[in-house]
């Protein structure tokens, strides 16, 4: 197989939706998890991993058709991919481009790893984490998640 001609796009452009670019290499699937996009949801999703990037060496890219991410969703991504950029697309045109900011807190995103935490019971306690400089702190039991945040996504 040769590559004489111009190579096609790795992922074709989308008409409407969101392109998340400059995701930390290897984190694309976790980004989808943190956005609640799983195999059972209806979004049309394209994922590219370990794509060469002049800016960050290697990166992942996620394209989501017909869904424009809101600010709360975008900021969740900052935990896994602080350099990600979000492009909102309408009629094949980027109408908005923004970076991600660390949110102050996360609601219903991460499960507390502390088995003794009240949020892991039948009580009506929605998972709630405060974002602190070295990770996430459970609002209820003060448990600190300082590494492998993706492993605790609900």
């Amino acid at each position: 197989m040769t590559h004489d001609g111009p190579q096609g796009l790795l992922i074709s452009p989308i008409r409407h939706g969101t392109v998340i670019d400059h995701i930390t290499a290897g984190q694309a699937l976790n980004v989808l998890r943190i956005l609640g996009i799983t195999g059972t949801t209806t979004e049309e999703v394209s994922v590219a991993t370990n794509v060469a990037s002049g800016r960050v060496g290697r990166k992942d890219i996620v394209k989501i058709e017909n869904r424009e991410l809101c600010k709360e969703e975008v900021d969740r991504i900052a935990l896994l991919a602080p350099d990600a950029t979000i492009n909102i697309i309408r009629e094949f045109t980027v109408i908005e481009k923004k970076g991600v900011e660390h949110p102050h807190e996360l609601l219903g995103v991460v499960r507390c790893p502390n088995p003794g935490c009240i949020s892991n019971t039948a009580e009506p306690a929605r998972s709630r984490f405060i974002v602190v400089p070295n990770g996430l702190r459970c609002h209820y039991c003060d448990w600190l998640i300082s590494k492998e945040i993706a492993a605790h996504i609900l």
């Binding site: 009240i118 019971t121 609002h139």
Partner: protein, 298 residues
Amino acid sequence: MRHIISVRDLAREAIDGLLDRAAEVEARQYDPNLLRGRILGLFFFEPSTRTRMSFESAMARLGGVSLNMGSVEASSVAKGETLADTIRVVSGYVDAIVLRHPKEGAARLASEFASVPVINAGDGAGQHPSQTLLDLYTIRKSMPLDGLRIGLLGDLRYGRTTHSLAIALSLYGAEIAAVAPKGLELPSGIVQELADRGTSVAEYSAVEDVIADLDVLYVTRIQRERFPYTASYLDVASSYRITPELVGLARPHMIVLHPLPRIDEIDPRVDALPNAKYFEQAHHGVSVRMAMLSEVMG
């Protein structure tokens, strides 16, 4: 509405204010009818003697009355009611809630469903702010809180009193020496949090190695329920014991504290030494809890 859930929520000024108020109470400078006609609800989902009775005593001394939930078996909890529902219901019966619960974060959850103030009286291995305040109060009666060198001895992994005290003392520039049997060391998350607050923790394997440098020695018991086998519990529990001879190695002003109950970790002969402050510490529970009740209901 003011809740007291965690020492993490208290700024140094707030702690100093509560301790000042406790000092006024101890000097009999308080209104014995301050909480007349008010009702305190006591909800203890775990055993308690000192904390429950000292809250009851504190409420009575301020002119109020207490309602006790009684045992868990005799309450709606036994029928499967959630804590959230229990709290919503009893908020209509009482003017403030004191809660002890086995789950960490239970008091925080309760504060979200209560329409009256909630005071955390211990949540699992989590927080116990009234104990911390009376610990600080006892220390402050002997020496200034600033720049203390304190030794924490015993079960530092599960012992909530040591976690709360260490976090509170970080507001006062303390240096912490941690002495724990293997496997019961301070959790790394607490050590990290203390470091973030500018407080260093030095770990020692034997109290003899550090006692000569301490201002305060805070002793805790090993909790038998953490050990599946009696033999392993006895091995760990017998690994340290405070004796008059050991206290003799310390500087004369060093005080010995213990949240009680003690088992064998402090020799009864220590009780007669001027360094032993643990029974005074328990007595201060009433003054400190009167200050807390005044704060949330006064």
